[in-house]
Symmetry: C2
């Protein structure tokens, strides 16, 4: 299968590219390296020393004998080149990761809000328009987020996979209707994913595009069976206040003895998935596209749910590193329950990597191994949801020497 | 009240600007003249000879003694100038008409689809971001469309004003929830209005912006008590296949003896409002903004519903001009019922101009008076919803001389 991976240089896109290449697919990455440019802007770096696309792809050829293509292209700005590329490659499938994906970053400033909306809406819409124009009937898999549902909206009912059956009162009695789950975006970033959904619904109906939207939970972990094959293949690991996702941040903090930073009470429950399961889910979604003319298929791409505070506690208990509560820069409910349906992927063969088995196995390797690369001034989250909200000072200014608190028996390399 | 009218050079925006100026408000128009540029691109002109903004504003000063400001600014592209303008004028209220508003145009080509999405999403989002950044607490009134609801979705239940109360099944029994009416966009243009809605919901919740969204029906009529005061104030009248709205097209067709062009069976029911009522509705909405922190207020801005075929029949019966059925370039239901709630505006004092009273009174004046300006090659609709759909040939190539078929007793001037 000829597969285009849009955003294939990113945290999810890179291991997905390797996974699909390893399965024998003919993979081409499209990426404008905007994520690496945002690193420059924020003056942060992946904790892991990620290599340039050229080095990565050479390393993969060396270890696997397989070629991956790389096209530097801005989906949001270079429509004509996108059309030409589609016409040249005529992909059977497209995986679309190419969006600005950090909620805190999307709330940083008016410029960041506007960039997030412009980039994400245009990237998605350009792609849809290009598929219609070229007539290429590729299966399109897009990465969405669990955040489109909001939290606590449906009471004790588990969050369904994209669609919700409701009763609409009419003079002739209740009418049963399947609707797209109402949008409840908590940030400008999440809002863009709710806009994506409506664009997908329209283009699936009007142009019979075959679209799958994966409502992904928070991804944790770093490596996959492919990325560990050579250090030059290492996946990115974000730990900063904008791009670092909560569990990875705790693991890195534990690795350096930094207090585990819980924003607010930590009573928020969130859904998680390991990066190894992300790549598997994409593989499964690609193998099971909806029919032309059908509404977009929506899968919840999550494997387990945890309260943020419980995660901190878990990591704290294993490492002895204390938990601190910092001001919450987000506007969100202090507490929520979260039960998420994910039967579709389980039925199609996903065997989840659970937190309890995976937690120490790999992330600690990463966090411990690369702890010397951490920039302590980037750990505390500083983007706020409204002007004037309180943020915290840096909690640690020097990296402690000595044994690593997270895995006392493994020496830091 | 200091009011900014975004898109104030357009069909709805211009008479609204005059109406609000006439009421004593301090009005500034912001417009990038994109609508006039699209006229150039399509090689069409308003049937009425609209004058440049400068001439219009001078004429208004002459007849009313009142000043209207005009700022040539692209909302979608000139964010920094928008911020500076807001800071300078500090408006109490903003009316946002400034979007690409023709469904057929939005389906014409990939370029038109992309322009419609880029222009409309960015115009709206830039405005929202600018309000947050400047901290200006203006009441924002946006023009949406009835098309966001889709047709026939809620069975025999009338279309509610924006929000729908549904029952969500949960293990603890049905949960009652008020949701934004599910989006059912029929074109890329309508889709952009469904995206606007989600942006409004987010910014009202996160930033306490006070937003009113007016879900407007198809506007008919041309003139208001202000625009008739001098011919240089005349409002635009679009009759072409892209921008001409259905009733105005029938009136113009009748005026020149062109067959009344019904696309498909004409079984589609649509909601209508006279331009005089549009300007009144905006006035009422401005006087009744939602509270800060409340969800966006949504009004259905419509006064009556009619089956397209019945409208054609009505005009045909009065004028003797035949009705013809042309291929339908839209993907839509062949027939639908439509009952729309509009109690909010009625309760706040709107006294609708009905079709039966207004039909001949004014539109025929316009259509008859300016019939010599019509370009016969622009009447048949040519934009299609999917490549390869059938369109019709021109039905008439010469303007007939002699008495005007629409109002046989009134001479064409
Ligand atoms: N990481 C998570 O926890 C998580 C959770 C839920 C959903 N997602 C979604 O999964 C997708 C991938 O996330 P990620 O963590 O890999 O993010 P990432 O930022 O690491 O990767 C995104 C990649 O897309 C590229 N990109 C962005 N805009 C582009 C454009 N206009 N043209 C070309 N390339 C562009 C970036 O350069 C980057 O390499 C995103 O859509 C994200 O919203 C991620
Ligand atoms: N006319 C109708 O029947 C109808 C029905 C329902 C809703 N609406 C809505 O009402 C609003 C006004 O409609 P209209 O018929 O007056 O359309 P119009 O095209 O005549 O007017 C829109 C005006 O906005 C301006 N504009 C567009 N993009 C701009 C930008 N980026 N920056 C600055 N100015 C910009 C255009 O130049 C134009 O003068 C639209 O939002 C439309 O969707 C109209």
């Amino acid at each position: 299968m000829r597969v285009l991976i849009l955003g294939g240089d990113g945290f999810c896109g890179w291991p997905t590219s390797l996974h699909l290449s390893d399965l024998g697919h003919d993979v081409t990455i499209v990426d404008n390296q905007s994520r690496r440019r945002i690193d420059l802007e924020l003056e942060v770096e992946s904790l892991t020393p990620i290599r340039s696309p050229g080095v990565r792809i050479r390393a993969w050829r060396e270890v696997s004998g397989r070629d991956i293509g790389f096209v530097r292209l801005d989906l949001a700005a270079e429509y004509d080149r996108l059309v030409a590329l589609l016409q040249e490659l005529r992909p059977d499938a497209i995986v679309h990761f190419a969006e600005q994906r950090a909620a805190p970053y999307s709330m940083r400033s008016a410029a960041a809000k506007r960039y997030t909306v412009d980039n994400n809406v245009r990237a998605t819409h350009n792609l849809l328009a290009a598929l219609v124009t070229t007539g290429i009937d590729a299966a399109l898999v897009h990465l969405g987020t669990m955040g489109v549902y909001g939290y606590g909206w449906s009471g004790s009912a588990p969050i369904p996979e994209g669609y919700l059956t409701v009763k609409v009162p009419t003079p002739d009695g209740d009418l049963e209707r399947e609707i797209l789950h109402p949008a409840n975006a908590g940030s400008v970033y999440h809002m863009t994913k709710t806009l994506d959904q409506l664009m997908f619904a329209f283009y699936a109906a009007n142009d019979r595009l075959r679209i799958t939207d994966l409502h992904q939970g928070i991804v944790w972990g770093t490596q996959t069976p492919q990325t560990v094959r050579d250090e030059r293949l290492v996946n990115r690991f974000d730990y900063d206040g904008d791009y670092g996702t909560v569990l990875n941040r705790f693991l890195m903090q534990a690795a350096i003895g930094h207090p585990l930073t819980v924003h607010g009470t930590g009573g928020q429950t969130r859904a998680f998935i390991h990066i190894r399961d992300t790549v598997r889910c994409v593989e499964i979604a690609l193998a099971n596209p909806p029919a032309a003319g059908a509404k977009p298929a929506i899968f919840n791409q999550v494997t387990e749910s945890h309260r943020v505070y419980d995660l901190a506690k878990l990591v704290s208990d294993r490492t002895g590193v204390e938990v601190v509560h910092l001001p919450n820069p987000r506007l969100e409910a202090v507490e929520n329950d979260l039960v998420v349906r994910n039967e579709q992927f389980l039925a199609l063969g996903l065997r989840p990597t659970t937190l309890s088995e995976g937690l120490l196995a790999e992330c600690t390797d990463i966090a411990t191994r690369y702890r010397h690369r951490v920039d302590l001034s980037k750990i505390v989250a500083r983007s706020v949801w409204q002007a004037g909200m309180e943020t915290a000072q840096d909690l640690m200014t020097d990296l402690p020497d000595g044994p690593d608190p997270l895995v006392p028996t493994v020496a830091a390399s």
